[in-house]
């Protein structure tokens, strides 16, 4: 083996490792989807009841599973991402439990509206520990938007969370998509 061959092998190794590493950017379709659904959910709940969220969540869950399945077919899921996925699922179930308990304690629409952006933000921050800055930033932003929304009356809180929460997710998704296109 010559020095140039050693260099070629190292370059090949680096390329392969880059392909298999965790990339938050690959999750951009989820950000775009849920950003859009948050806008539909919050704006929809101004005109209809908050039950619109049941339909929105179901549609989101079904499309998310479809996107996840398609991605899994395209590229194997790194083991660390699988573990993060399971951790997020456990946390999500815990948050659903918290939500059910909170409904017993309060019927404040402001608190109910801000509950999910706050806790989803928290989940993103946790995921960001493994997946990088973009997840941490959107997580922090969602928590700030949720807390700021507590002081806004109906329908301004809904509009704020649609723009700040849903819009934030869409903006993040668009930036991550750009990153994926540039890396390709």
């Amino acid at each position: 083996m010559k020095t140039q061959e050693a260099l070629d092998q190292i370059a090949y190794l680096q390329r392969l490792i880059a392909q298999t590493r965790l990339r938050a950017a690959d999750g951009y379709p989820f950000f775009l989807l849920w950003g859009l659904l948050w806008i539909v959910g919050y704006v929809g709940s101004i005109w209809w009841s908050h039950r619109v969220w049941v339909g929105v969540s179901l549609v989101g869950a079904v499309i998310s599973v479809m996107i996840g399945w398609k991605k899994k077919q395209e590229q194997p899921v790194p083991p660390l991402l699988k573990k993060i996925g399971w951790l997020m699922l456990v946390m999500f179930v815990y948050i659903v439990f918290l939500f059910s308990q909170m409904l017993l304690l309060t019927d404040s629409v402001q608190i109910i509206n801000s509950f999910w952006p706050f806790h989803i933000g928290l989940l993103y921050i946790l995921a960001g520990i493994f997946e990088g800055r973009s997840m941490l930033m959107i997580g922090c932003w969602l928590m700030v938007a949720a807390v700021a929304g507590l002081w806004l009356p109906f329908p301004w809180q809904e509009l704020w969370l649609a723009a700040g929460g849903g819009g934030g997710l869409i903006l993040t998704g668009a930036l991550l998509r750009k990153q994926v296109i540039n890396d390709a």
Partner: protein
């Protein structure tokens, strides 16, 4: 003058690009199935099988065939010896590059 010994001691099994790729994928992703490795490296079934056999015969990987949801699945995993040999190989590659840089100076 390059240290000839460093080149001579390089593990020949890893010098084939495909086997280097297989070891890298298994190191980075952990236990992987045949089709994942094939997809990751863009190989044909026959080509991948041949290289996996070489690595298995050297004792660097273990191949387990099992059924998952009634479908046959071939799982490949690094052995301790394989992990150690690959680590040494990477160290040697680094040394070669460092020596080349020193000679350039």
């Amino acid at each position: 003058m390059m240290h000839e010994g460093l080149f001579q001691n390089l593990n020949e099994i890893f010098q084939a690009k495909t086997r280097l790729g297989i070891m890298t994928v298994l190191t980075a992703m952990g236990d992987s199935d045949f089709s994942s490795i094939k997809k990751q490296l863009g190989l044909t079934d026959g080509n991948l099988s041949a290289h996996l056999r070489v690595l298995e015969e050297a004792g660097y990987i273990q191949i387990e065939k099992k059924f998952v949801k009634r479908k046959p699945k071939t799982i490949c995993r690094l052995t301790t010896a394989g992990r150690e040999a690959f680590r040494q190989y990477l160290q040697q590659l680094e040394q070669i590059i460092q020596l080349a840089r020193q000679e350039e100076k």
